[in-house]
């Protein structure tokens, strides 16, 4: 841990970075930003996080940036900053993935809720709030979703639910 950064923030940031990012897509964006930011620490013009962010994203700042900014604002130790960014990058790159197959682009609320629900699972390799969700859009899936988590497979597709319902109620014998 870097002693020259604000320790409680940096530790908290590292602990919560995955739950902040939540998705692989965000993690990829984050990794790009971290690489970009690391590059900027070598600039001769000095390092100003706000300027860098404004230059990179303009007005469209990603929501996950807030947590990192708190740790980096007012800090002029570029070496320290670089190490911090490297630590975070390693955490993100090494995080376990949960693959979710759905037929639509999920909303933020859905992602948040889904992250919470998956966080309740007792599955090896998945710690609460220490994983990322990778969404796979499959329009042929129809309703529901299929989730691959820690070697387990959870099928909550609409087709499976309906087939299970039809089999259980012996629909063919009763109605056909």
């Amino acid at each position: 841990m870097n002693e020259k950064l604000k320790p409680e923030f940096s530790r908290k940031t590292k602990d919560n970075i995955l739950s902040i990012l939540k998705t692989k897509e965000n993690a990829n964006q984050f990794t790009d930003f971290v690489k970009y930011l690391s590059g900027k620490t070598f600039s001769t013009e000095g390092f100003d996080i706000d300027k860098v962010v404004a230059k990179k994203y303009g007005g469209n700042i990603p929501f996950w940036l807030g947590g990192i900014k708190k740790d980096l604002v007012g800090n002029n130790d570029l070496e320290c900053i670089r190490n911090f960014l490297l630590d975070i990058e390693n955490i993100v790159d090494g995080s376990p993935l949960v693959r979710v197959e759905i037929s639509f682009s999920p909303s933020e609320d859905f992602i948040n809720s889904l992250y919470e629900v998956i966080g309740t699972l007792e599955v090896s390799g998945i710690d609460k709030n220490r994983f990322l969700i990778e969404f796979e859009i499959n329009t042929n899936l129809g309703g529901g979703a299929k989730i691959h988590v820690g070697g387990k497979y959870i099928d909550v597709s609409l087709k499976k639910i309906l087939v299970s319902y039809l089999e259980t109620n012996n629909v063919i014998k009763r109605y056909l």
């Binding site: 629900v117 979703a145 099928d155 639910i161 309906l162 039809l166």
Partner: protein, 261 residues
């Protein structure tokens, strides 16, 4: 008929008459010769003895003795000749008589022979006849025995064959029944096996068909349901289904209520 010559004409031993007479003649000659020799020897000995006794006497005595000896010798010679001639005559007489006896006996012998021959022939004929009869009888007996034996053998073989046929029939029947039973069991087993396989196939087919029906129905229902679902409801549905599935499978740490939009 036997003559009174003891040993010659018997049933056991037959000589011819000539041989007999010749033998007798030879015997007579031998006897005569022996007598002559005897006389010579005896006289010789006497002479020798006398000669010895009168040796010491004079020559007269010896001359007398010599003369006596000569006389004796002559007398012996004459006697021997007489004997010889007598023997010869007797032998001739015997020979003559034997010749006549021989003719007689030959004739009798021939007659006897003829009779014996006839008897023998008759007895031989009888014997032959008897033998023939007994042979015929034996042959007949043998034939009858053979026929009987053949009949008995045939009967035994027939019996044997029939019993063999019966045994064979029984064995075939048993084997056939056994084989039939085995075949029935085998067919039953195979039939059951095939029935099971058909049942399994039917079940499999029905299951596949049902699955296809279910798939089709679920596709239809999904499409119908999705038409009514917006994204919010869809997301809520997914979350609810996931929570339900997690609860059923029991792989959750704890189920917290999720804040919904």
């Amino acid at each position: 008929m036997n003559l009174n010559l003891p040993i010659y004409f018997t049933n056991k031993f037959l000589f011819t008459g000539d041989t007999h007479l010749v033998v007798i003649a030879y015997l007579m000659f031998i006897i005569a010769f022996i007598l002559i020799v005897y006389s010579i020897v005896v006289l010789g000995k006497k002479r020798t003895i006398k000669k010895k006794q009168q040796q010491m006497t004079s020559e007269d005595l010896s001359n007398n003795a010599y003369q006596d000896a000569l006389r004796i010798l002559d007398r012996a010679r004459a006697d021997s000749l007489k004997i010889l001639s007598r023997a010869q005559m007797k032998a001739q007489t015997v020979l003559k008589s034997t010749y006549s006896i021989t003719q007689e006996s030959r004739r009798e012998l021939d007659e006897n022979l003829i009779e014996i021959y006839k008897k023998q022939e008759k007895s031989l004929e009888d014997l032959t006849e008897e033998l023939l009869q007994s042979y015929k009888h034996a042959v007949q007996q043998g034939k009858e025995d053979n026929i009987r034996t053949l009949y008995e053998a045939t009967e035994a073989m027939k019996k044997e064959a029939l019993s063999g046929v019966d045994e064979l029939k029984t064995a075939i029947k048993k084997e056939t029944l056994g084989a039939q039973q085995v075949l029935e069991e085998k067919i039953q087993t195979e039939y059951s096996k095939i029935e099971n396989e058909v049942d399994i196939y039917k079940q499999e087919k029905i299951k596949n068909l049902n699955k296809k029906i279910f798939d089709m129905l679920s596709d239809i229902y999904s499409q119908v349901i999705m038409q009514d679902l917006d994204q919010t409801k869809h997301e809520k549905l997914i979350l609810d289904l996931l929570k339900e599935e997690i609860r059923k499978s029991g792989i959750d740490h704890s189920i917290n209520s999720v804040s919904e939009k």
